[in-house]
Symmetry: C2
Subunit: 153 residues, 2 copies
């Protein structure tokens, strides 16, 4: 599988995976993983597809989270993270690693905001507990079910 | 949910999760995640249930892997890892973090070895490419679908 095929495989997996597993590194140096909303899942978040389509970093990822969450404190101290997408039934996996950014641009935060997120952030899009993260990955690794792949971005 | 309930919740999830997601930290300090065989899945690995039942560290985890895999090199340089189990449909998750050990005890390696693993390690149980890892976690964190939990071990 060449880099273009691996990229297409990864994109297809991102667009259908049920969850996105975000790993941060905690204050004691241990990796901490948790499931997050997979905002690239097209069926679940169709209104966001346009944000990703045609972006120059085709494997970029956004995460919405509570500002008060432990992961935000981890990221402020160490922004090296990875995200994992998988289909365990088919042994398909994609890991993307890189430096994650905390987005403060209100326009972008509004673009990503989805109806119903008031359940997480009662104050709406300007709730100070609404944090938006962006990962422009620099390393991709994965498994197609039969073979590994790896490439830099 | 008190610690005992969280522990029971976590054990039940470990015993049914399709895969175990192991995170290591690579040489550049980025967390790297990949799906591994979940040797605690009772349906998949019934012969291993006895290894875990009644163990004094009830949340311990074993992983079999190729000695030549990148994760083994990561662990030799930095043994801080975590493993994640989840049921994304129900938003159930369990993360266990701690120091992972490379097991060299041949008796234990034989105990864990399962029929059919020759596909991964053609030389059988004494194949130098068969590595057994053990994690005795020191931190547990998770999500029951409605609430977070966290405890030390």
């Amino acid at each position: 599988m060449d880099k273009q095929e691996a990229r297409r495989f990864g994109l297809a997996l991102m667009e259908k995976a049920e969850a996105a597993y975000l790993t941060t590194i905690d204050g004691n140096g241990f990796p901490q993983v948790r499931a997050m909303l997979n905002l690239r899942n097209r069926k679940r978040w169709p209104a966001l597809a346009g944000i990703f389509d045609g972006h120059q970093h085709d494997l970029l990822m956004y995460f919405s989270t509570n500002t008060s969450a432990a992961k935000v404190a981890h990221i402020k101290a160490n922004p090296k993270v990875s995200v994992y997408f998988c289909d365990p039934a088919q042994f398909h996996g994609l890991m993307l690693a890189g430096i994650v950014e905390i987005i403060t641009d209100q326009r972008l935060k509004r673009q990503i905001w989805q109806d119903g997120w008031e359940v997480y952030y009662p104050g709406g899009v300007t709730d100070p507990d609404y944090t938006l993260l962006r990962l422009l990955p620099t390393l991709a690794k994965g498994w197609t079910g039969t073979a590994p792949f790896e490439f830099e971005l």
